[in-house]
Symmetry: C2
Subunit: 316 residues, 2 copies
């Protein structure tokens, strides 16, 4: 039987933005980014009520605790553990809404990590991931773990199974990630709806060869093989329509030295990998210029793949 | 300009049997077996004629040099290099016909390796593989490299691309392979014809997670992960119909300690992987007993995954 540490009153946790799919691993690969993510602060009270006190976002995020991923998952956790506790919740979004950067996952994970800090017997990362999946189901209509797992575990992760969650922490390549967010809104639910439910066997063979080569490249630190393998022939062609000028942006990034370019998660954000920081900045520049040609503003981050998992930043 | 070494008159080469697909790598993974394979002997003459002198097989293999994989590929090679040479060809088949053990690939590769020994400037393994692909096209109607690449390179291989052939030599796990050949004939061409040309996205996600985990397991020598990943949800269910009692055979093998069981190539042969030699022999016993229940005789091999590539065994 779990219980609450009554010495703790307020906890803030940070959860990083994540790039899911990574071109070749639809629904199974993802990595965490540095310096961009969501903060959730929980202040406890003993009336069993959950209230979203504030969300620092100009965008329409639900304050209804059953429709917000952060509150939904901790309510379920507290109910399952029969904890006599309620929380007022403050959410500080660093991740733009519907950007493909794992915002719904990060809010849910930050809330779970903060909630976990109140427990006398904290849950394992695997247990937290099972709760975070419920948030993904709320946000996208489907349980997919390719944002929540890198968010909870850090690094570059493979989700080998969903029930129970099987995680492989892959070697992290010594590369820079460019993440660019065009100011377009695409909900994960819509981005999933357009995907064909059946795929050609010949495309599957090509994509699986790329996936296997990508994993081999990570373990053998073979950047040339990684570059050859980082191509999505299955999903990207179906989603390219979401970003005007997609192929021009990609071409410009590759010409500026990107090892590979594709959607981050379900888009519209794009990621690119690069060997050097200077390349990464040049790539980010040419990508935003190409978007500008389409009259689309964008934000951009240059980051390492972060080893750091979601974590508590303040506790009192 | 290449030329013939006129000091050489006769060359014999051995090429190993191979297990393609390896459950999770349809058309992209394969490994070589020890102590089972085909021998091809080439005796040169200078009249530019190619003659199949003998094939030690009870089974109907074509003597027409344009319809036999061994002769077809070396004829093409000699023509491309404009070599003034002909060969009488002896084929000693160690691999049963239409067994799913890479017999057509092994005969073609043994012929190519023998032919290569006559050249003053031998071709590279990659170049030989391009010629061997023509034999696979003749045998199965499609250029697939998952038998020829492990046959030419040895070990456990990933074919990353076909044109040009991109090969990744994967770490070889310290395991035993059971290969069982039920006395049933299924041509590769027929086994490919029944495959659906489109696959469900959700099955693709599951299979790709298994493939990625299998590659990660090889590099991290994680046998438990390898065991969890060695499951084919895409192709095996479509081909199970070819072997009566398939699921009983598989169940018996898993209960006897197999880490995984699936078709070798397009079947009807099955492979299983095991930690210990004693397990492998027990698995081979229960699999052949299960086949016997269906009134099907079988042959069985227990082997390591062979590091050895196809090679010359005699030259004079």
């Amino acid at each position: 039987m779990n219980s609450i540490n009554t010495n703790i009153h307020s906890v803030t946790a940070f959860a990083p933005a994540t790039c899911a799919n990574v071109a070749v691993g639809f629904d199974i690969l993802g990595f965490a980014l540095e310096n961009v993510g969501d903060y959730v602060t929980l202040n406890c009270h003993d009336d069993n009520k959950f209230v979203i006190e504030s969300i620092n976002s100009n965008e329409a995020l639900p304050l209804d605790t059953d429709r917000n991923t952060a509150s939904l998952v901790i309510k379920k956790l507290c109910r399952d553990l029969k904890l006599n506790i309620g929380f007022s919740i403050k959410i500080k979004k660093g991740i733009p809404l519907s950007s493909g950067m794992g915002g719904s996952a990060a809010s849910a994970v930050a809330a779970l990590v903060a909630c976990n800090a109140f427990l006398n017997t904290p849950l394992s990362s695997h247990e937290l991931a099972q709760y975070a999946l419920l948030g993904e189901e709320l946000a996208s209509g489907q349980q997919h773990a390719d944002n929540i797992v890198p968010c909870i575990f850090g690094g570059l992760t493979l989700i080998h199974s969903l029930n129970p969650i099987g995680v492989v922490q892959l070697p992290i390549p010594d590369l820079y990630c460019v993440l660019i967010h065009p100011h377009l809104h695409i909900s994960t639910m819509d981005a999933r709806k357009i995907l064909k439910s059946e795929l050609p066997l010949k495309d599957y063979v090509k994509q699986s060869a790329n996936l296997a080569a990508f994993i081999a490249a990570l373990y053998s630190n073979n950047i040339s093989l990684l570059q050859k393998s980082l191509t999505d022939v299955l999903i990207e062609p179906q989603r390219a329509q979401f970003v005007p000028g997609f192929y021009n942006i990609k071409k410009a990034a590759l010409e500026a030295g990107a090892l590979g370019v594709s959607f981050s998660g379900s888009g519209p954000s794009l990621f690119a990998l690069a060997k050097h920081k200077s390349d990464a900045h040049e790539i980010s520049k040419v990508m935003s210029e190409q978007l500008k040609c389409e009259n689309i503003d964008s934000d951009c981050w240059v980051s390492r793949i972060s080893k750091d998992a979601a974590h508590v930043t303040q506790s009192s």
